[in-house]
Amino acid sequence: MTLVLYRIDDRLIHGQVVVGWGQPLDIDFIVLVDDAVAGSDWEQELYRMGVPPHMDVYFLTVDQAAERMTDFRSNPHRGILLTGDIATMRRLAERDPGLGAVNVGGIHHKAGRVQRLRYVFLAPEEEVQLRELATRGLAVSAQDVPGARPVPLGELLASDDVFD
């Protein structure tokens, strides 16, 4: 199989990913792309404790992930690729032309961000980065859980007063 979901989620590995998406998508592995986590054994141990024993987790920098994307996409199992922010996904997209549709799963409140959805807050530079992903031909939409309605990028960036 392949990577079946490319998700931006600032909580990285958590319930929505492991259970909410992982079970219906029948996930066998997670590729967590984050330069800081890839350099920290303690952080890796923390996230590994959150996944079922049968699920593999690969902790990679953007550079390492870019080198292995072809392998992941030809993997006989099914996986989710996670980044904790938009900038990391954009950097990966610059290195990997084969990236699939991008799911904005959770970007929470922080100074300088404006609420777009219940679970998406964006700073102006992050909006630019999302548009850059779209200009690469990637479908970008926001969707926290599988049963929710995907919110296309145009609607996401226009929704400054209606929280879905």
């Binding site: 319930g15 404790m49 929470h108």
Partner: protein, 138 residues
Amino acid sequence: MSDPTPAAPAPAVVRAIVAGHGSFAAGLVSAVEQITGRGGVLRAVSVAGLGADDIERTLRELMDETGARVIFTDLQAGSCSMAGRRILRVASDAVLVCGTNLPVLLDFVFADGVEAPQAARHAVERGRAAISVLGAGA
């Protein structure tokens, strides 16, 4: 002549924080209060809409405010459990219980004669034993 008005009960000392997805925490604490009248021993936390850093900060602040050293959460992979693990890294006297159910909390709130971390460990055994399957095929 003595005052006929009964004294108000002293407010319960918060001994643990309960946190999880949706209304998990408020629901469980509400159930504990309804069954035992001891819901005040627990403090329910809602983390809806918070990022990982804010969840951790919220739990830390509540621990500082209440003195509680036990955190009950719902899911091992959940954000509250992740935050709890980060807190344990620096709070060596704290205890994190993941996979909490109602029997766990019921046992915990009655164990006011022992230290909270020890009470939590005992409650987990009760909570495990309280799960059963009945009916067809059981």
